[in-house]
């Protein structure tokens, strides 16, 4: 069964078309890297899968059902905005607040909830961090807690939005390896969005590349090629492989790195 199926899907955000008439399927258990320039719609696609953005046309099927808010079985790790009040809470309090938070009443934690929190903290190896206030943790440690939070309730599908943002290469590698291992052990389908392909190389089964309202899915060798990326970027793209790494270049400028560093100034140039 496909975990995710897009059938002639069109997604729009305001006046912008994020995806136009895209069809593709992602089988259960696959680890997919989601890439594309800033503004290509990685977050919007995730939000559509969660039922927060309605398709303008076509259909989006998640775990066998049309995408809808409140669908059970989806774990989501959004990009974080840290509110200072929240950061003074401990990791455990943060996780407890996300557990069955859609129910009315007081946020009291029962034994099953307690056990689920211990389970996810053990899974990501963050048991010792969870008693400390979150503001006392490093960015990498905080990402572990957010990953743990996404694993609450034993999801079958994980949507991870830019978990590597603002992490140094060592922590990036740690997160990717951890997600790879957990996805295998727990049999979870994972969509993992990132600015840069290289930290994901060797870990992902396939890559979903978004750009210019279109999408391409396949192995790294199938998708990360000059012709495919030129079509998505609407510009001449050259793919250079060196030392086990892949560099996506446009007019002598490295495209991905440019996004990561300058917040998409160059992405605009590529789009134009």
């Amino acid at each position: 069964m496909s975990a995710i199926a897009l059938n002639r899907l069109t997604l729009t955000l305001g006046v912008r078309t994020i995806l136009r008439d895209v069809s593709l399927a992602i089988p259960s258990g696959e680890f997919v890297g989601v890439l594309g320039p800033n503004g290509a719609g990685k977050t919007t696609l995730f939000r559509a899968m969660l039922g927060l953005v309605k398709p303008s046309a076509g259909s989006l099927t998640i775990l066998g059902h049309p995408a809808a808010r409140g669908t059970a079985g989806i774990g989501y790790m959004p990009q974080t905005r840290s509110v200072s009040g929240v950061m003074r809470l401990s990791g455990t309090a943060f996780l407890a607040g996300a557990l069955h938070g859609e129910r009315w009443g007081l946020p009291l934690l029962d034994a099953a909830g307690q056990a689920d929190i211990s389970r996810v903290l053990d899974l990501v190896g963050a048991g010792s961090l969870a008693q400390r206030p979150m503001r006392a943790l490093s960015g990498g440690e905080r990402q572990l807690l957010l990953l743990a939070q996404a694993l609450l309730g034993r999801p079958r599908l994980l949507l991870l939005d830019e978990p590597l943002l603002n992490l140094d290469p060592r922590h990036q590698h740690g997160i990717v390896a951890l997600v790879r291992r957990l996805a295998g052990e727990l049999g979870i389908t994972v969509l993992f969005s990132a600015h840069e392909l290289n930290p994901l190389l060797g870990a992902i089964d396939r890559v979903l590349y978004l750009g210019g309202g279109q999408a391409a899915i396949g192995t790294v060798d199938e998708v990360i090629t000059g012709p495919v990326l030129s079509r998505l970027y609407g510009a001449d793209i050259e793919v250079v492989r060196a030392g086990g790494r892949i560099f996506v270049m446009s007019g002598g400028q490295e495209v991905e790195r440019a996004h990561a560093c300058s917040g998409g100034v160059h992405a605009g140039e590529v789009h134009a």
Binding site: R69, G70, P78, G85, A98, W104, G105, L106, P107, Q149
Partner: protein, 273 residues
């Protein structure tokens, strides 16, 4: 204050009806302020509480002008203001300039109402700086009722409100209506603000609503402890403020603000960032 030889100072204090009334009113208000304030700090919306109290000033002075109860005038207008802020949602939150403008306009309008009202000075001072020593038995029952409504509303919405505060995107995906949470919470904040005004006045609401809560946030990283500590600090601050006012004959609000500031300062010094 006269000291009667037959009783200890603390006992004497409670032999005056107005001191008993003040202690009762102060306790009710402090409990509500401690709980609501904790969530207000958690959500990073403290300025909203400050602004709502100023909006309430217009309601209170408007009510005086037409001969109605200033407390109910304040409650009505702050709740409308809170619901309005919640409906505007993200567009209003964080817009400090817009909120500041509404705040000034409200005080200005309130001033105009007072200008038309004859008992100008004493009413203005009472509204702006509090008049907890003037609280009567009927007002205590009103405060108790409004406080109970605020806390009951929080008991019902606490779980989704907390979820929406900690992880808005995730909460939305799980089916929590963020806009509804924001509106309901700000309505509760509006009620709490109107209650606080009865003790410390429009200008000093921050000291009861935010100071104990902000200190508690620094000292406790667990939710239950944090809320309990916030309530404990607010109640202590109020009682100690009343006792010190009794001993010194200074206004109660002076001591409550001083103690709130001291509690927050001590919390900052003991838990450095």
């Amino acid at each position: 204050m006269p000291v009667v030889a037959a009783c200890t100072p603390a006992k004497c204090m409670l032999e005056y009806d107005f001191m008993v009334n003040a202690a009762l009113a102060g306790t009710i208000v402090a409990v509500v302020a401690g709980v609501v304030g904790y969530l207000l700090v958690l959500r990073g919306q403290t300025f909203a509480g400050h602004a709502l109290s100023h909006v309430g000033f217009t309601g209170a002075t408007g009510a005086l002008l037409v001969g109605a109860s200033p407390l109910w005038g304040m409650v009505g207008v702050t709740v409308i203001g809170g619901v309005g802020m919640g409906l505007l949602g993200e567009r209003a939150e964080g817009r400090d300039v817009a909120i500041g403008m509404v705040l000034s306009l409200s005080l200005g309008t309130g001033l105009l109402f007072l200008h038309f009202f004859t008992a100008y000075a004493s009413q203005a001072t009472a509204l702006l700086f509090g008049s907890v020593l003037g609280v009567d038995a009927e007002t205590i029952w009103t405060l108790l009722g409004l406080g109970a409504v605020s806390l009951l509303a929080l008991v019902v919405i606490a779980r989704p409100l907390l979820f929406a505060s900690l992880q808005p995107e995730l909460a939305e995906a799980r089916g929590v209506n963020l806009r509804l949470m924001s509106v309901l919470f700000l309505a509760v904040v509006a009620l709490a603000t109107a209650l606080c005004v009865q003790v410390v006045g429009v200008l000093l609401v921050f000291t009861l609503l935010v100071a104990p809560a902000a200190a508690a946030h620094r000292l406790a990283s667990r939710l239950g402890y944090g809320v309990a500590l916030s309530v404990g600090l607010a109640v202590t601050q109020t009682w100690a403020g009343l006792a010190l006012a009794y001993a010194t004959d200074w206004p109660v609000s002076v001591w409550i603000t001083a103690l709130g500031g001291a509690a927050y300062l001590l919390a900052c010094l003991s838990v450095r960032d």
